[in-house]
């Protein structure tokens, strides 16, 4: 018999609700798996075993009493550590928030609990979600389960690794410029950056508010849709939340891409994209064509402006979001006191933030400064509008756009840590969806030298259904999501 940790979330739900397995048994199986591999993968910052066990028992009681059961009954979920969990420390992988105990749950966490999911713990990430490798975490680097010498991607590296290593059934990440899709691609899991506003950001510790969305990570499109169904929907506590009608996303999971029009921007395969990735992703597109879709190549001329615009907007917002961590109200407080605010604040911030966070705060502060605002921040907003318009136009012609998620293969831990520009360049294909606000999914598409490759499929605003259908069809045909790392 398959160990519970190898089951899909859907299978777990079925087994538990039918009484074929208890939530407690299932959870123990995951904890056994965690005990087996976590010391090598280091996906988690905090494991909440007691609370998880307690919840599993409660759920079993519900099953016994034949009460209504939630959509994720008994499914263990890993939560990125920038999502607030009541009384469970939420660190953003920063020394700044090493001991932060939120007094409330993020909206998505509430939704998970409402649907009877079990929260396993909090996963590692790049500090304040700034990075593509999980190397900037104050709590050490997470390893890629496919090859422990490699990075899992980032910033939601812990969540992707936990799912990939089967330490958790499903997981939540957040995606500001690719932070769900990049690790999904590097760890061969499925990951979605939803339409901006579909998932409430209430309880997500902000990096760049206008760009980011909380997104699901799973081993299959099935589970991904199930988790997305639970976390999406209107929430009045987030003013940017949209009142879209709630969807039963699982209904879109049909093996049917007949007549689907795929746009393939040549820029997605242009300079800087690894030739081996180009080949593999084209194979994926060809596969979709064989299944009934058609594709045509075209040019998205604004793509080349996306990365600088993204970094300026993201760091500008970050410089303001992170201002509250001054050691007086929030964050690390150094012992050295001073009579003067500025000195005290600077001291605390210098010691509480890691190098990458400080760098981005400086960059953002600079971009918003008088005399530079127009040429940097405002210009970036104009670029953003241009990109949006070009995407709108493209989606009039095509149902989806396809290309690689990442331009490069997973890299070795430490390999790019000093090559900032190369690291920033990694985001070139993912930041587009964040600038536009449209949904994008990364789905396993093959391997190069036993390292995973992901294909990115982007859809129009609120086009999650077509993404799910396309990804599902591709998954059923390619079967890459059946592969798992040997640990």
């Amino acid at each position: 018999m398959k160990s519970s940790y190898n089951l899909s979330a859907k299978e777990i739900v079925t087994k538990i609700s039918r009484g074929e397995s208890s939530a407690e048994e299932c959870l123990s199986s995951f904890f056994e798996r965690i005990d087996e591999v976590e010391s090598r993968v280091h996906a988690f910052i905090t494991l909440d075993r007691d609370a998880a066990l307690q919840r599993a028992k409660e759920i079993d009681g519900k099953v016994k009493r034949k009460e209504r059961l939630g959509k994720l009954v008994g499914v263990p979920v890993a939560i990125k550590d920038n999502l607030c969990t009541r009384d469970v420390r939420t660190t953003c992988s920063s020394k700044m928030l090493e001991n932060f105990l939120p007094p409330y749950n993020a909206h998505v966490v509430e939704q998970l609990l409402k649907e009877d999911a079990i929260i396993l713990g909090k996963t590692n990430m790049d500090e304040f979600a700034m990075g593509s490798s999980t190397e900037s975490s104050y709590f050490g680097t997470t390893k890629n389960p496919w090859n422990l010498a490699y990075v899992p991607g980032g910033s939601s590296g812990g969540s992707a690794a936990a799912v990939s290593a089967r330490e958790s059934s499903i997981a939540l990440g957040s995606d500001t410029g690719g932070s769900v899709r990049c690790p999904a691609s590097f760890c061969s899991t499925v990951g979605l950056k939803p339409t901006y506003g579909l998932v409430s950001r209430f309880g997500l510790i902000a990096y760049a508010n206008s760009l980011e969305q909380i997104g699901p990570l799973a081993r299959s499109v099935d589970d991904l849709a199930l988790l997305f169904e639970v976390i999406s929907g209107y929430d009045q506590r987030d003013s940017t939340s949209i009142r879209a009608s709630t969807q039963n996303y699982s209904e879109f999971l049909r093996e049917d891409v007949d007549g689907l029009k795929i746009g393939v921007p040549e820029e997605f395969f242009g300079e800087g994209v690894d030739e081996r990735i180009v080949k593999i992703v084209w194979k994926g597109i060809d596969c979709l064509e064989k299944l009934g879709a058609s594709y045509s190549e075209f040019s998205l001329s604004t793509v080349k402006y996306a990365l600088p615009a993204y970094y300026l907007i993201a760091t500008s917002e970050a410089s303001s979001n992170l201002a509250r961590y001054d050691g007086l109200r929030y964050g690390y407080s150094s012992e050295v006191g001073s009579d003067d605010w500025s000195t005290t604040f600077s001291n605390n911030r210098k010691k509480g933030f890691g190098a990458e966070v400080r760098r981005r705060i400086l960059l953002g502060t600079f971009a918003l400064s008088a005399g530079y605002y127009d040429q940097y921040y405002l210009k970036s907003l104009q670029v953003r509008t241009k990109i949006r318009l070009e995407f709108e136009k493209a989606f009039k012609k095509f149902d989806v756009l396809a290309g690689p998620t990442m331009p490069i293969l997973p890299f070795k831990i430490g390999e790019k840590i000093d090559d900032l520009l190369a690291l920033y360049m990694c985001d070139i294909l993912t930041v587009l969806a964040n600038l536009v606000g449209c949904p994008a999914i990364s789905i396993p598409c093959g391997f190069v030298d036993s390292l995973p490759i992901g294909m990115q499929i982007m859809g129009p605003m609120l086009g999650e259904s077509v993404l799910f259908r396309t990804a599902y069809t591709f998954e059923k045909c390619s079967k890459f999501t059946d592969y798992s790392p040997k640990l």
Partner: protein, 497 residues
């Protein structure tokens, strides 16, 4: 250096010097809202324990998000319409970034008119009356923002050994009303603020009389010199003092040939001086940018039409009505309507006693003078319209004299007792019996033989004797009767001589 100068400044009463230019930034709390601007915390923080009206949102706790209070937008629209400002169809919230303990997030959510920002309303004007002349003060813009926390010092900010922070006030809805530099004197500034406060009170959006509910910053320059901003003026009573000080300081600088620096100064209401906070070079760069957690405020034409229908009568209209309906002088009507409570008091009185002129006279003279002397508002005084009317009726029916009434009024204001109670307690009933007055008059004549003698040739002596009679009766004698009786008795005496 500035401190040295301040110590030798002599206060002078500044009156409408042509070279003075003043602009105000008035911060008015929307006190009719029950909650803060972006969270559900109660806005009634006055008199509460410090740091008890808080939640993750107004504390800027990581992961929390602001949600704009819809009613604050309605309030802002009402004010905009009252000030004839143009309401923006779509306005934006911006972040104003600065490191200071008064904002939990180290930024303030406000609105802005530059860097692509659009405030909720722009333009407009307020008419004021100074020295019987009308003047229009232009409004530059109106914006919604959150109030910072209250910083508490022990005595003066300069010498306090600590700063305490009370976040109860952080996040309270503020309307910032910015004027053009149209004000010419500290008095105009005060009158403007008084008028503005009255408008807000008539709208029912802000009770400017609550402590700290109406605060302002002032920009002031003299003789086209550098502009100095004065912060922390906590009430419109303080504004006159702060501006007078600053005008005197700048004049003293000029007369010594010293240059007035472009700077920001702090009004220290304990030491009653302005203190330099920072110079131009050290000015904050607030790095304004659009607040990404809030959506634009959209206001439709229909919504504006709906709000305009619920705008109540405003001070200017009320003034006109007072003049037309009650036939009181325009100046008096202006004074009465410059304070909603005062105007309400007036009209309450008229309901009980229809002679508006008499009511207005009593209010404009004795009542106002007393309030000014005590430096309090009519709401704080213990007098009610019933009191004033009862007092006037006592004069009418001859129970007390007008002169006695003047001594009864302060007693009412101080104690809240009814006029009858006071009259009885103090034995102030008028002596109207001819017999009683005649007896007392005889005594006066006997005690003042010299005056009686002079009375035959000197009119003044007669008045002296009447005065003595009034004094003897502590003013309670009917003055006409007293006059008559003294004259009669003198006539009699001169005949008998």
């Amino acid at each position: 250096m500035s401190k040295k100068i301040t110590s030798v400044v002599v206060f002078s009463k500044e009156e409408f010097a042509e070279d003075v230019v003043i602009g105000l930034e008035v911060h008015c709390q929307l006190t009719n809202l029950r909650t803060k601007l972006f969270c559900g915390c109660s806005s009634e923080y006055r008199g509460e324990q410090p740091n008890t009206h808080l939640c993750p949102i107004c504390l800027g706790m990581p992961g929390s998000l602001p949600v704009a209070n819809r009613k604050s937008v309605d309030d802002a629209m009402m004010v905009a319409l009252a000030l004839k400002s143009e309401i923006a169809e779509r306005s934006l919230f911006f972040r104003k970034n600065y490191y200071y303990p008064d904002m939990p997030k180290n930024f303030q959510i406000t609105q802005y008119d530059q860097a692509g920002g659009i405030p909720i309303a722009s333009g407009g004007e307020v008419s004021i009356q100074v020295n019987h002349e009308n003047k229009q003060i232009r409004i530059r813009r109106i914006q919604l923002e959150e109030d910072p926390a209250k910083l508490v010092h022990l005595g003066s900010i300069d010498t306090s050994p600590y700063t305490l922070v009370d976040y109860n006030r952080a996040g309270i809805a503020l309307l910032e009303i910015i004027t053009e530099p149209d004000l010419k004197s500290s008095k105009e500034a005060r009158v403007f603020l008084q008028k503005l406060r009255s408008i807000l009170e008539h709208l029912g959006v802000s009770d400017g009389k609550l402590e700290g509910a109406m605060r302002c910053d002032a920009n002031i320059s003299i003789k086209k010199g550098n502009r100095v901003e004065i912060k922390n003026i906590s009430s419109f009573k303080e504004v006159e003092k702060a501006l007078n000080f600053e005008i005197a300081r700048q004049r003293a600088m000029n007369s010594r040939g010293l240059k007035v620096e472009m700077e920001t100064r702090h009004w220290d209401d304990v030491k009653r001086v302005t203190i330099s906070l920072r110079t131009k070079e050290a000015e904050h760069d607030y790095r304004y940018f659009p607040e990404p957690d809030l959506v634009p405020v959209e206001i439709s034409k229909e919504k504006i039409a709906k709000i305009s229908q619920i705008i109540p009568e405003l001070p200017d209209a009320r003034l006109d009505r007072f003049v037309k309906l009650y036939k009181i002088p325009s100046y008096d009507a202006g004074v009465l309507t410059s304070d909603k409570a005062m105007a309400d008091f007036f009209e309450e009185c008229i309901k009980l006693y229809p002679d508006a002129k008499t009511i207005s006279n009593w209010m404009m003279t004795d009542l106002l003078r007393w309030l000014h002397e005590k430096d309090i508002e009519i709401k704080e005084a213990k007098v009610t319209p019933q009191h004033l009317v009862e007092m006037i009726k006592l004069i009418d029916d001859g129970t007390i004299s007008g002169k006695i009434a003047k001594s009864v009024l302060p007693e009412i204001l101080n104690t809240g007792k009814t006029p009858s109670e006071i009259v009885t307690e103090k034995g102030l009933l008028r002596i109207a019996s001819r017999k009683d007055i005649e007896l007392l008059a005889d005594r006066v004549l006997i005690e003042n033989p010299k005056a009686v003698q002079d009375a035959a040739v000197d009119e003044k002596a007669i008045h002296y004797l009447i005065g003595q009679l009034m004094k003897l009766t502590k003013g309670k004698a009917d003055p006409q009767l007293a006059n008559q009786i003294i004259k009669e008795k003198l006539k009699k005496q001169s005949k008998s001589n």
